[in-house]
Amino acid sequence: MSSPPKLMVVASAGGHWVQLMRLRKAWQGLPVIYLSTEPGLADIVASTARAEGNPPPDFISVTDANLSEKRRLLRQLAEVFLAVLRHRPDVIITTGAAPGYFALRFGKLFGTRTIWIDSMANAEELSKSGQEVGKHADLWLTQWEHLARPGGPHYMGAVL
């Protein structure tokens, strides 16, 4: 990569999103596409970028779904796939949940560098998607030191 890498930053709205935003210094100044499940976050992303002197980021909103809503989940999967296909990010970083999992798996099809940061809410064991995604993530992280293992997930820090 000679030009700066293009980043896709993915989290469902709510706690996953709040955690990921606390890490935004990691991609300060880089071209970023945000993807989440709440259209109202577009304004917040834009005003934050402006306030911090960053270029206006792209924002993609996909269908919100939980694991028991199969149809909505399928729609979300398709929307995430199209977003990854259209933008072809060099790096995908996510704290989960479902949209992050989908983005990471699709990203791997295109050779994207992928980072999974398991939610800090999972203090006793990794989330189900977090366990499953481990073998696909280039960097597989937990935010709790006692959950780290030599083969991953690894511990690099926590958002709090």
Binding site: P4, P5, L7, A13, G14, G15, H16, W17, V18, Q19, R22, L23, R24, K25, A26, W27, Q28, L30, E38, G40, L41, D43, I44, N66, L67, V91, I93, R113, I115, S119, M120, A121, N122, A123, E124, D138, L139, W144, H154, M156, G157, A158, V159, L160
Partner: protein
């Protein structure tokens, strides 16, 4: 103003009921603004405050900004948002045995999370009134020290390095 929020994903009537009971006996003297996702069957109707089902991110931010105390489930998002804004927050974990979540990670959050100024952790509805009373007492005394807006720089620097080079 006291802001009660259950999030938009799942109902949490055990918390709403406990707060309603507490308001009746403790008479906190603050307006209660509530965002409550009602249970699909036989939802609890609070006697002492009105509740809205959903708030836009903008409305949520505006209400949070005005709140002296936030009461919520033990979700990391609400905890982080409240602490970064220097708000008192009292949390109670959802539990699987009451069908409030898919697993008991919120119990783990309450047990594992360190103490931060302004964070009050109730184990259940029996523990909640005492924690709420303690939170109320601390409102007048000193403003809680807000946590920073960003994660530890060591963590974000390591991530940035991996983003740029693919190496840790």
């Amino acid at each position: 103003m006291i802001f009660l929020t259950t999030g938009t994903q799942l109902p949490f009537d055990r918390l709403v009921r406990a707060v309603d009971d507490w308001v009746e006996t403790a008479r906190p003297g603050y307006e209660i603004v509530a965002q409550v996702l009602p249970a699909s069957r036989d939802p609890y109707r609070p006697r002492n405050f009105d509740a809205r089902e959903r708030l836009s991110p903008k409305d949520y931010a505006g209400i949070l900004d005005k709140a002296q105390l936030v009461i919520s489930h033990a979700g990391m998002g609400t905890i982080l948002t409240a602490l970064t804004r220097g708000k008192q927050i009292c949390v109670m974990p959802r539990q699987v045995k009451y069908n409030e979540h898919r697993n008991d990670h919120q119990l783990a959050t309450v047990e594992r999370l360190k103490d931060y100024p302004g964070l009050f952790k109730a184990r259940d509805e029996h523990d909640l009134p005492a924690r709420l009373d303690a939170a109320m007492r601390s409102i007048g005394s000193s403003r809680p020290e807000a946590i920073g807006l960003f994660a530890d720089a060591g963590f974000t620097d390591s991530l940035r390095n991996f983003i740029l080079t693919g190496r840790t």
